[in-house]
Structures are given as structure tokens and as C-alpha cells.
Symmetry: C2
Subunit: 328 residues, 2 copies
């Protein structure tokens, strides 16, 4: 995945520059709050995917830049609001926006990031018809991400969440925006006939990415991920790991896991115990297998495309591998 990392390192300053420019304005404190998260790092996978799809299908990288900044802005908007909803205090190794700027300004900074996502997208130098279609995909993603986030929240109150429901939730919460990246990338390449296929690809990639995210929340190194370990367990999230472990563990251990996850406040020892029960259940291996199956399905879609730039297509394949194999 070395080449992918090199590629991202070449586009990151361009995307970040574009974002920094879009996020200049008054009042200064609002724009400062809005800049905090997007300019504090992040993997830039969504802009990379959008740009690589555009290139692979015959578009130019520069033409994809406003749209690439747009999807990253939309992503950051959802993170700022999610952190308020989940009361998370750290992200990307730094305090979250509401911790630094207070909740009212953080809500507003999120709203501004969202509006700026459209502002950037609408600057794309393509025919109005293509730009309008891009805006439709961005809007579909925004609606769908909100639905997924609501499902995720509601699952916290339930014990009977099925694997199928979980997979639908992550297709919405995480898949939709990756799907929009795929579709918008195809539109930048002036291949509207490929938009739906690349959306489907992106959604599957996003699901695999989210499953890996859940796994990293359990076994990742927080110095590498930038997120507090066991965050999902602390918040009682119904991840695939939890769903699977509850079904696979012997009844008493399943009950014990449930009891820990039900607690309003959990100490570190309890979180460690919950994690060890999940590990013991085989849920990690199971989740990895599901992620790899998704990876294979996504790879199948890629193999059907008429490719203009093979090098870009290789990098999309690496990105897919990264989504599942990464340690951060």
C-alpha cells in the first residue's frame, strides 16, 4: 500500500489548501471552529477515492478538486455533529470542536461545513447537468448518513439488533458518502453511465471500512488510530462484533457481556473484560471475514470497468485493500 500512501500525500496538500480557502470568512471564531477538525489531519480517503475514480475513468485530477474538498467537508460536518451527539471528547488525537468552542458554536460550525460542502461542489467546472447530478448524489449521501446515524443511536437502546440491520445501518452511516465519492468521481470523468455502478462500489467499500473501524476500536492502538480505545463499547454501540459475540458466547458469558454494555458508566476493567469476551467468541475473525467478502465483491465491480488510467485503477484496488487491512 506504499503507492497509495504516496498518492494520498501528493493530493492531501491540494485538498487541504482548497478546504482552507473555502473556510476563510467572518466571524473569525465561527470559521476557526469550522477549520479545527478538517485541518487536524484525517486520512483523506474520500477525496482520494473520488479523485482516483475520476482519473481511472478518464477525468483530470484538477477537475475533481472542488468535489474532493466537498466530500471531505461533508464528512467533517458529520463528525463534528456526531461528536456532540455521542459526547466524544477526542478525535484525531485532539479535543473535539464542542469541547474547545462550546456546543452552540460547534453545532453552527458543523452547519457551516455542510453548507461549504455544497459551495465547493458547485464550483466544479463541468456542464450544469453534470454538476446538478453531483449535487443530487451529495444530497442523497447527506440524507442517508443522517438516517444511518439515527439507526446507530437507536440500536444503542436495543439488544435484538440483527446482523442484517447492522449491515443496513453501516451502508447508510458510512457507505453512502463513499458511494457518493464513487458516483461523483464518475461524473467528473463525464461518465454518468458509470455513476450508479461506482456508487455501489463505494457503498460496499464503505461497509468494509466501517467493519474494520469497529475492529480497530476493540484491538487498535489508540496512539495509531487517534481515537480512545473501547469507545464503541463505552457507548454501547451494537457493532457486528457485539452482535456476533452475543449470539456465539455461552449464555452466562453472553449475559455478562450484556450486563457490562448496559451500564451507564463502565470502568476500564469492565471494558477490558467485555473486549476479552468478544475476542474469545470468535467475533473478530468473523467480522474480518465479512469485511473480506465485501472487499471481494467490490473488487469484482472494479474488474468490470472500462479503464482509461490503469495506474489510478491500481491505486483504487490498493485503497480497497487498505480499508480492510489498515491499522489506523
Amino acid at each position: 500500500m506504499q503507492r497509495l500512501i504516496e498518492y494520498i500525500n501528493t493530493i492531501k496538500p491540494k485538498v487541504d489548501n482548497y478546504i482552507a480557502k473555502v473556510l476563510e470568512g467572518e466571524p473569525g471564531r465561527l470559521y476557526e471552529a469550522a477549520r479545527h477538525l478538517p485541518l487536524k489531519g484525517g486520512k483523506r480517503l474520500r477525496p482520494a477515492l473520488l479523485m482516483l475514480v475520476a482519473k481511472a475513468l478518464g477525468g483530470k485530477e484538477e477537475e475533481a478538486l472542488p468535489a474532493a474538498a466537498s466530500v471531505e467537508l461533508l464528512h467533517n460536518f458529520t463528525l463534528v455533529h456526531d461528536d456532540i451527539m455521542d459526547r466524544d471528547e477526542m478525535r484525531r488525537g485532539v479535543p473535539t470542536v464542542h469541547v474547545l468552542y462550546g456546543e452552540p458554536l460547534a453545532i453552527l460550525a458543523g452547519d457551516l461545513l455542510y453548507a461549504k460542502a455544497y459551495e465547493a461542489l458547485l464550483k466544479t467546472q463541468k456542464s450544469p447537468d453534470l454538476v446538478k447530478r453531483m449535487a443530487e448524489y451529495l444530497t442523497w449521501a447527506a440524507v442517508t448518513v443522517a438516517e444511518g446515524q439515527a439507526m446507530d443511536m437507536m440500536f444503542e437502546e436495543r439488544w435484538d439488533v440483527s446482523e442484517e440491520e447492522y449491515l443496513e445501518m453501516i451502508a447508510k452511516k458510512t457507505g453512502a458518502l463513499f458511494g457518493a465519492c464513487g458516483a461523483i468521481g464518475a461524473l467528473v470523468a463525464e461518465r454518468p453511465d458509470y455513476a450508479e455502478k461506482m456508487k455501489e462500489f463505494g457503498v460496499i467499500l464503505g461497509k468494509a471500512f466501517q467493519i474494520k473501524d469497529d475492529i480497530l476500536s476493540l484491538v487498535g492502538d489508540e496512539k495509531v488510530t487517534g481515537k480512545p480505545k473501547y469507545n464503541d463499547l463505552r457507548e454501547g454501540k451494537k457493532t457486528l462484533l457485539v452482535i456476533r459475540a452475543l449470539r456465539s458466547l455461552p449464555p452466562e458469558e453472553a449475559e455478562e457481556l450484556k450486563n457490562i454494555l448496559s451500564k451507564e458508566e463502565k470502568d476500564f476493567e469492565e471494558l477490558e473484560r467485555a473486549a476479552s469476551l468478544i475476542k474469545k467468541s470468535g467475533a473478530l475473525e468473523y467480522a474480518m471475514k465479512v469485511a473480506e467478502q465485501l472487499e471481494a465483491r467490490a473488487r469484482e465491480i472494479l474488474s468490470q470497468l472500462e479503464v482509461v488510467d490503469e495506474e489510478a485503477m491500481d491505486l483504487i484496488n490498493e485503497l480497497l485493500e487498505f480499508a480492510v487491512k489498515r491499522e489506523f
Copy 2:
């Protein structure tokens, strides 16, 4: 203004129907939270303005419907988030969304309303070029409203807010969306050459509307307005009334007003005293005069237009009068 009220009564069910249809989806509780405010009344002035501008300049009312629903959705998104930020518990005579559904779901319901505003707008049956321009105006409004709301919040901490700063703040917080209604109305009528002029008209109308809103917060009947009396005073808002009163009152009374407004918690007697000091200062008459000057400037713009439907133009003039003369 009887004819205006009759007109609004004919379009309201159409707009509400469109909004209700756009706000159907899963998960049910998210969509229920999103529907709460937009379907609990509201004056529908923004959709009315957009539709009337479209008609007056030669467009068809039905063609304006998706855009009319869009601006109302955007307006409701800002209200849902503003109520969280301002900790307001009542609006339109009913509890606010975060009171009924909790803050996390209310933030998300606001986000969904925002996304749905674009979804509705992008359904407009006009050329992609016109629809793209509409989306640009909606985006400009969303960015500008966030800036205005941030200014409003920051003014709460300051005593040296000037009249000029206040007027800039309301041009952004309230004027921008009315401005977008004017511009988008012109685009529905396929008169892009009028978009900027109608935006200017809308911004001025919105400023007059906001000044009247501030006045009603002080002297309005809460049974008629649906909003708790003295809300602005309670929150320490720097309205034109407060700015003017602080400058016009004798030093001891200005100090007394400042002391009351500075208090974290204010009892009803203190709010009554603050209101009576403001009334005594002549600030109400002054603010009415400013609103009427804005009304005159807006009317001047209307008089310069090539009008296709004179009846619709008469109603726009009535809407302008209503903004300044209304009791609710």
C-alpha cells in the same frame, strides 16, 4: 392585507403537502422529529415570497413548488438548531424539537431538514443551468445565515455593538434566506437577469421583518406570536431596541438596563423593568422608523421591475407591508 392572507391560505396546503411527502422515511422517529416543527404551522412567508416573485415575473406557481418547500425546509432547519443553541423551549406554541426528542436527535433532525431542502430544490423542473444557480443561492443563504447566527451569539457577550453591526447581522441571519427566495423566484420565472435584484429586495425585506420581530418580542402578545414574551431580553440579545435604548437613556437608567440584561437569570419583574426602560427611551419608535425606511427602499426596487402578473406584484407589496405592520 386580507388578500395576502387569502393567498397564503391557498398555497400553504400545497407547500405543507410537499414538505410532508419529502419528510417521509425511515427510521420513523428521526422523520417524526424532522416533521415536528415544519408541520406545526409557521407563516410560510418565505415560500409565499418565492412563489409570488416567480408569478410576478412570468413563471408558473406549480413550477415554484419544490423550491418553495425547499426554502421553508431550510428555514426550519435553522430554527431547530437555533432553539438548541438558545435553549428555547417553546416555538409556534408547542415545545421545541430538542425538548420533545432530546438533543442528539434534534441536531440530526435539523441536519436532515437541511439535506431535504436540497433534495426538494433539485427536483425543480427547469434547465440544469437554472437549477444549479438556484442551488448556489440556497448555499449562499445557508452559509450567510450561519455567519449571522454566530454574530448574534457573539453580540450577547458585547456591550459595544453598533447599529451598523446589528444591521449587518440581521441582513445575514434573516435577510439572506429572504434574499434567496427572491433570487430563486426570479430563476423559476426564467429571469436570471433579475436574480440579483430580487435577492437585494429579499434581503431588505428580511431586515425589516427581523426588526419587527424584535419589536414583537418586546410588545407582542405571546398568544398571538407563539413565542415567549421578552425572550430576546432574557437571552441578552443585542437588538436594535437595546442598542438604541442604551445610547438614548440617561446614564443611570442605561446602567440599570445593562445590569438587568447582564444577569444570568432574570425574573419577570426585572424583564418588565427592562422593557419599560426601552419603551421610555423612544427605541421602539426609532426601530419602527428604521423598519419603515427599509420597507420604502424595498418598494422602490419593486417599482423598477418589468412585471408580467400585476396581481402577484400587488401581493408582494402586501407581503412587504405585512413584514412591518404585522402583530404575529
